[in-house]
Symmetry: C3
Subunit: 382 residues, 3 copies
């Protein structure tokens, strides 16, 4: 499969229109120094092994491979050369170059992360492509709680706030995998349970507690399901705040079944190393979709192999593309290129060995790269 | 490894004699329409993603690749062309062509699935190869219960019926993975436990309850173990009736240990995505065997990669071949071809890089394709 | 990546200096017969499938591939030819040849396994490379208990004995995965808990009970953490004494977090089939390292594929090399060659497809092959 140069936007009909169905803002003021840049290349909050740097990973190598040419440097140039050039060009120019080179037709931006980040309209401007907002449920809940409702009022306020947020968003996102884990009671909480949980949480909040109560987290999921928007769920690996076994998407099985009658479509994000299990859920439940998000950049030269595993059971109408880029614009380009090159090589192989017809490969590339997301989110503008 | 054309049955000595150690009947009257055909290509009971069809999966593509030529069509021809030709030829001719092309020397048929399916003798006739019966334990139990025994008599009747069924069968099969999950108490239930469970189940049956009681399911397994026949267990993925984490074959560890002194040989079917864990069990327990059954067809162009993973720890005398074909004769040919082409390419690679001697590759191909099954089931006729 | 012939020790600067960071003694008197040899090729304590031998596995084939040439035989020669030549040369000569051919610069030897095995000094002599001792915590505990302390004294004695053992060792090793499983309470036991557990164990010991009490096992881990030496933990597959799901390194997550403030560095050994999860832990926790040990030899022709998976998330400064050789000197050579050939081919591929720069590949090979271990264990002599 030969993906055309995604920086060439003149001939849309002939190249995959990539829809980045889950990404975040990048820093308005680029990383302040090498250590800061390195810290944005890892899911760890700790220093690298002595004698090495956070560039010594598949992601670090992938940044040097894919991003250096966009800054007029040879691929795989040393980290210090790359960072010097980055400083020379300045953050706005670097951001613009890397986002343009990513070749995205549309961005769906989760705005729930902290930091002085570009907002969707600014990302859209840098990328030259429209951006839509994904609303993070737990952030909505924190905002509602900040308004000081009592425990009796809180559950209803959450539902109202989520319905309100739905009007300006294309999807919801939940990080319940971080806050509690994915092993949740499948049913919607009763009103009494919700009130009791609200009371507990409001009391904890006075001591600084973030929202980790599974009853309230389930309230958020069920309220989101009621809006008709797709619901994205973090699954699989992330930073050290996560207990990885609690983020196995198969833990969602009962909730997936419980939500099926509501019509709510669920998008399992990232999934690694549980992407085969996610593929199974996407295969047997009509409302389940999956992507590899964070996984592709972080596995770098191995992204093709991981994509191949995701393409074992996941129906071709159910796999989505995203970069999960955050903080560094590099993560947009790396996410895009590991996807297009990885999928392209994979499909080429299958065509070459006559497993797939060329037209099938082209159609599947278009579905995964953007068609599935356009259909799922009802996108009409990119 | 070059597997000879399996449709050429004139020269048995020179080609792998495939023993399909786990398969099912195919529809006597072919699928009534395109949607029906599609529903037999998926483990889901729901429609495909909008704008796609159930052909848009590795299995769907594999059917077009491997089956179209057997119906005189070019490989990878479009679904509608394929289905039109299928209607033109008629179900009996399609069935005969596809089963013959699968190149099977023997079929071991699990007859416990519903539907108007060809019985083993009819499959044998279509395939041109002998067929033997595998008896599904849960089906035996339902038949016994239909005869109206009281709770005190039921456990003994189950044991008798299983012993009786053993006389005409080559193996037993259990779907306890569906009915309860594989996390079972390892020991045989006491007589009192069995009676109590029988009472509960007979009461539930009046309200339509199928057999899900873990005590009775364990009675079935222990009764089967007493017959000396191999016992096949569904493990790994299946349809949406399954909770996949409950089907991890490693959950069987304690039961595997408890059954070891009985001499009962256990066959772990399908296994995906837990096939590496299944390989470990086959490596350390002398009475455990594994196959990939359902997995090979459903992963299509990726079958070779999955086979490679199964061949990491599984001893070469312990891996078995099956198609798990059901409903569509296509699944016989796809199961056979994904296996022979996948294994053939894998062994070729290892020989080419000098990891394996050519004679070793040929011997291992013969063991996995049929030799291991012939030894395990005591087959003498094909 | 082209690893130079590791038997050529004349030019150290140009080849990876392999540090085998986890291995064991080999039999002083070679295996007595073919069956005995075979039993040392498997993690099972049972006979192979009828009609096959324990050579019929990836490890068996890898022995024939890699070891036959070191005994002047063609690669992949038949098992009986190999074993005849082995007898002809005699155990000492075979041991010397195979250990030399493994091209090890340093050996870190876990001396806690039973049998009439070469001690580290003898292994060093055979390998022509220095050997250092790894002390197995559970063996220390048994020795302490043999001295007859009462329950009140035992916990303190364990701590003292571990501190004493640390003086002559480069690392500790725990087999808590076998004795209890890795799902442990994360905190150090209180003195009262430890005394109570000591009393229970000392009573059990009179009836022959080995140390399986989780409280005492945690005492050992925390005492080892206090010494400042790295702590190696068996994770992943092993022999049939293990329940594999209990050896998933992700079960250690809470303990990993609890130990982080102590500065104790943790080394996850073997890891298969949970090596991707181990890579995640190594990526997000600064004190976690991983190796594939036992895995590479046992997966033989598939070692490259497994290494590739481990290199998805594991930072390049965190992956280590070991053979986990035990009993047979063949396991040293097989472990070494599957690693160097597997990693070499993998890195060659990434360089060839321009994912990695050649200098990066060379540097990463040197880190994984030995540099990471030298830094971690403070090695200065090989």
């Amino acid at each position: 499969m030969d993906f055309r140069d995604p920086t060439d936007r003149t001939d849309r009909a002939d190249r995959p229109d990539l829809v980045d169905q889950h990404c975040h803002g990048v820093l308005r003021e680029g990383p302040v120094d090498t250590a800061h840049f390195g810290s944005l290349l890892t899911e760890s909050d700790a220093p690298p092994a002595p004698g090495t740097s956070h560039f010594d990973s598949q992601l670090g190598f992938a940044v040097r491979r894919w991003c250096a040419p966009a800054l007029d440097l040879p691929a795989n140039c040393p980290p210090d050369v790359y960072l010097a050039r980055r400083r020379e060009l300045g953050t706005p120019e670097v951001t613009r170059r890397l986002l343009r080179a990513a070749g995205l037709a549309t961005l769906l931006v989760d705005t729930g992360l902290p930091g002085d980040l570009l907002v969707p309209a600014e990302l859209a401007d840098a990328a030259g492509a429209p951006a839509h907002e994904i609303v993070r449920l737990e952030t909505v809940a924190e905002s509602v709680a900040d308004q000081g409702p009592d425990a009796a009022a809180l559950p209803g306020r959450l539902t109202e706030a989520i319905a309100e947020a739905a009007r300006g968003a294309v999807a919801f996102k939940s990080v319940v995998a971080y806050r509690h884990g994915l092993a949740l009671e499948p049913d919607p909480p009763s009103a009494a349970e919700a009130r009791a949980a609200a009371g507990r949480w409001l009391a904890e909040r006075e001591r600084g507690g973030r929202l980790t109560d599974p009853v309230l987290l389930r309230c958020l999921l069920w309220s989101a399901a009621g809006t008709g928007l797709p619901l994205q769920l973090h699954t699989g690996f992330g930073d050290s705040d996560l207990r990885l076994p609690d983020a196995d998407p198969l833990l969602l099985t009962d909730l997936v079944r419980a939500l099926q009658p509501t019509g709510c479509r669920l998008v399992l994000l990232h999934c690694y190393p549980y992407h085969r299990g996610a593929g199974y859920l996407a295969a047997v439940y009509p409302h389940v979709y999956a992507d590899l998000g964070l996984t592709l950049g972080h596995t770098g030269a191995r992204a093709r192999a991981v994509l191949a595993e995701a393409l074992e059971l996941t129906p071709f109408g159910k796999l989505l593309f995203s970069t999960d880029a955050y903080g560094l614009p590099e993560l947009y380009l790396v996410g895009s290129r590991t996807f297009t090159s990885g999928l392209g090589e994979l499909l080429d192989t299958w065509v070459k060995e006559r497993s797939w017809a060329p037209a099938d490969a082209a159609r599947v590339a278009a579905l995964i790269g953007g068609g599935n997301a356009r259909r799922l989110y009802g996108l009409v503008d990119g």
